[in-house]
């Protein structure tokens, strides 16, 4: 492990040394979910000027740590930064929001669910649509695979976690069907009148119906206002006195061009 780390560090420092002759390098690392949009932003940014942006997807926790320790100029997180993770030297910038829609079949009469109801459906405690105001039909809960970013965020927001031997694990019922990817969940829910699933808001189309949560429809406006609760921020962590090149990239992301890309990629712009 240690030797691997040293090799990686020395390889990285050689890269830095090589690139520093030509231009400055902005290092970004963290959440796998944010990496997707960040790579698009980096690519477009590099086309406009000389600095190089290096994006590494290592996970939110690792990204937050990297920003605090200064190993990356910018850390990415696809969840709120916990109080225990905060410190004096870094600031948080929310670059975008990502909504998660709870979707049912178009034939389903249920149009609104409370957070508690969704939670109980996924824990396997509510098994019939009539318990939540629908027809007397069984519920088929569909979830993403363990480790998926969307599932992780959904579990965090809905409180669908529990502890086994002091390790946090999912509270989603093992009887729930598991589909890999937004597309697979969409197909399942679109074809099964009893199904319920959760997908990234950008993937919702006419083939299935997104239910409103606590009376608020799953729309960009409701996520911006905070009325629709199942949303997660894409947080960037930077030093209070960031390097000039990092600040410049940050300004680009938060500026009109960057935010337009965020909206283009199906996320919710914040500026």
């Amino acid at each position: 492990m240690k030797t691997k780390l040293i090799t990686a560090l020395s390889a990285a420092s050689m890269l830095f040394a090589a690139s520093s002759f030509a231009s400055n390098t902005v290092t970004v690392s963290g959440s796998t979910s944010v990496s997707g949009i960040m790579e698009v932003l980096a690519e477009r940014y590099q086309a406009t000027q000389h600095d190089v942006v290096e994006v590494q997807s290592t996970g939110s926790s690792a990204g937050i740590r990297a920003a605090k320790e200064g190993t990356s100029m910018i850390g990415m997180s696809s969840r709120d930064v916990k109080d225990s993770e905060k410190n004096q030297s870094t600031q948080e910038v929310i670059m975008a929001m990502d909504g998660i829609a709870v979707a049912v079949n178009n034939a389903n009469s249920v149009k609104d669910l409370s957070i508690e109801q969704v939670k109980k459906i996924y824990m396997g405690e509510i098994k019939n649509w009539k318990e939540v105001g629908g027809a007397d039909q069984p519920i088929v809960a569909v979830t993403r695979e363990v480790g998926s970013g969307t599932r992780g965020a959904f579990e965090d927001i809905m409180g669908l976690t529990r502890k086994i031997n002091d390790i946090t694990v999912t509270a989603i019922s093992p009887r729930a069907q598991v589909a890999s990817g937004n597309g697979a969940i969409k197909t399942l829910v679109a074809n099964n009148p009893y199904a319920i699933g959760f997908i990234s808001l950008g993937s919702v189309d006419g083939s299935l119906a997104a239910v409103s949560i606590e009376g608020a429809a799953a729309t960009k406006d409701n996520i911006k206002s905070g009325a629709y609760g199942i949303a997660r921020p894409f947080v960037l962590l930077v030093n209070n006195q960031p390097a000039a090149e990092a600040q410049q990239f940050l300004d680009y992301i938060m500026g009109t061009a960057g935010q337009a890309i965020v909206a283009e990629e199906g996320y919710i712009e914040v500026n």
Binding site: Q137, P138, I139, V140, E145, V146, G147, S148, I164, N165, I167, V169, T170, S173, P174, R175, A176, Q177, V178, A179, S180, T187, L188, N191, N192, Y194, A195
Partner: protein, 311 residues
């Protein structure tokens, strides 16, 4: 039999002085072509062996931490799959075994009867139409089988058995049964055709009917080939991944009946591989070890069955 073949060859050599010359000449030189080909054969054979050894080595190396973490008994018999806390693949072992056995129960009789039909019963023109269709079945990618299952089998199960979700063990069994057909049919037909004509002629000469001959003489004579086909079919069923992910629902809970959703060992690896880290990733390698042991047991059972027959 050997003698009848050997006699004419000797005569043939004797009458061909040109051939004897050529043989004498090549005996004096070092046979480089022969040596190169010998080496080529050896290297080719080694590639397969080395691949198996490497795969086995890395599976064990990567999988051991998870088995140590969970304990071998808990890992194999546990029915709770809650990474990163609990790693029990008992339910998945059951799902893999039941789906493969179910596929054999449905698929093998159909395949066997098809093989007999193709080899013995069908007129030539009909056999020539069915055989390419069976061979085409073997070439269809498994994701297409999965799609077929998703569009045809899953809704059919929903309406026939009146269950809310048709993505069940049964759907997996039906899809796997169709998938193993070409393997079993092709090998069984070949082994039925390989039986010496004398068996059939002897049976007819004793006054046996064609059906008696097929069922009591031909099938027992072709037994080892047919068993090989069945074992390869089971191996295909156990190893199938993509189609199974699409039709079985992949729930981690222990299936209570054939109409429950379940997750096979292969599906478990494929579903969680992309995100897993640490012990979780290691547990997926351990799942691979279990699969490898399965296939080894299958092959061993084939050896044992064939040895019994020889005695």
């Amino acid at each position: 039999m050997n003698q009848t073949i050997a006699a004419p060859t000797q005569e043939f050599e004797f009458k061909n002085p040109a051939l004897i010359d050529a043989l004498n000449q090549s005996a004096q030189k070092v046979d480089w072509v022969g040596r190169i080909f010998n080496l080529l054969f050896l290297v080719s054979a080694l590639i397969g062996v080395i691949s198996v050894a490497t795969i086995g080595y890395f599976l064990v190396l990567e999988g051991l931490p998870a088995i140590q973490f969970a304990g071998l008994t808990n890992f194999l018999l546990g029915v709770d799959w809650y990474p990163p806390a609990l790693y029990g693949i008992g339910a998945m072992i059951v799902a893999s075994v039941v789906s493969a056995l179910g596929a054999v129960v449905i698929g093998v009789p159909v395949a066997l009867l098809t093989a007999i039909f193709l080899a013995e019963v069908a007129p030539k023109w009909l056999a020539n139409m069915i055989r390419p269709a069976v061979e085409l079945l073997a070439g269809i990618p498994s994701v297409v089988y999965g799609f077929f299952g998703l569009v045809i089998i899953v809704p059919a199960i929903e309406s026939t058995f009146n269950v809310p979700a048709g993505s069940t063990l049964l759907a997996g069994i039906v899809v796997l049964a169709v998938m193993i057909l070409p393997t079993v049919i092709t090998i069984a037909e070949t082994s039925i055709r390989a039986i010496p004509k004398t068996y059939k002629e002897g049976s007819y000469a004793l006054g046996a009917s064609p059906m008696f001959t097929i069922l009591k003489v031909m099938l027992p004579a072709a037994r080892s080939g047919i068993l090989a086909g069945v074992v390869l079919g089971v191996a295909r069923a156990v190893g199938e991944t993509m189609a199974i992910i699409m039709v079985m629902g992949n729930s981690t809970a222990m299936p209570g009946s054939l109409l429950d959703s379940a997750r096979s060992l292969t599906a478990n690896i494929a579903l969680e591989m992309s995100y897993a880290t640490g012990i979780h990733a290691s547990s997926l390698y351990s799942t691979g070890i279990v699969l490898l042991v399965f296939v080894m047991l299958l092959n061993t059972s084939l050896l044992v069955l064939n040895r019994k027959r020889v005695k």
